[in-house]
Subunit: 139 residues, 2 copies
């Protein structure tokens, strides 16, 4: 069971997709981009260097796993991978599928208005993620 | 000796600071921010998932090392850590010292005009980095 407290802004702006060993995987509610975040289930964590060396290793493994899944599921031209924390201090890593014809290219995606998902499209994105994810878990 | 070819845009926009086992450490030539990049010395590398598992481990160790050094040298309020690649396809990781009174806060730093360093200030930033770096190397 997840005991950790998700920052209310992350809870509002994203929805639950899956749990890895360390992180919760969530989808940002903005259909302009296929934009996932990984949130380590550790309370009061802001700074990368405050993670233990073991947790850092697991985190990077999970970043790699999600990057592999997104590559297979969505064939991005680039993946943007980032931890900023300027607005929400709870540590979270963005992993964002980018295409050269997306709404922000070549700029970063942050700081733009969100366009909330159409329910059918959101459920399609999540099920494409989970299909590849379940193959990984099973392999 | 470094055989790898640095992207001309990275060569133009940043200056050499130090070499780690895998990455070159460089300082972006914009005095509005204390903004370092790590460039793995591997040719034709764009996508994170194309790094071998061993290289990923070293890269993340070096990200952590530079994050520790920047924390000690510059007492950031946040560190932004990111690999985007939208403009320059050669893999590079940004590690950026952020303060709540900096020129972009709370926005990300990308997409703003660069203010080239005053030489004395640049040399001060680099020497503060290298002082802490050399203590790490010696310890």
């Amino acid at each position: 069971m997840e005991q950790f407290i998700l920052h209310p802004r992350l809870a509002r702006d994203s929805m639950y997709v899956a749990s890895l060993r360390l992180c919760q995987v969530r989808l940002i509610n903005n259909q302009d981009f296929i934009w996932f975040i990984l949130v380590p289930r550790i309370d009061d964590l802001t700074h990368f260097i405050d993670l233990s060396s073991d947790h850092q290793k697991i985190l990077f493994k999970e970043i790699n796993q999600v990057a592999q899944i997104l590559t297979q599921a969505f064939s991005p031209e680039r993946l943007n991978i980032a931890s900023l924390g300027n607005v929400v201090e709870q540590m979270h890593w963005h992993i964002i599928v980018r295409y050269q014809d997306d709404k922000a290219w070549p700029d970063p995606v942050w700081g733009r208005s969100f366009v909330p998902y159409d329910a059918a499209y959101q459920s399609d994105i999540i099920s494409r993620f989970l299909t590849v994810f379940q193959n990984y878990e099973a392999s």
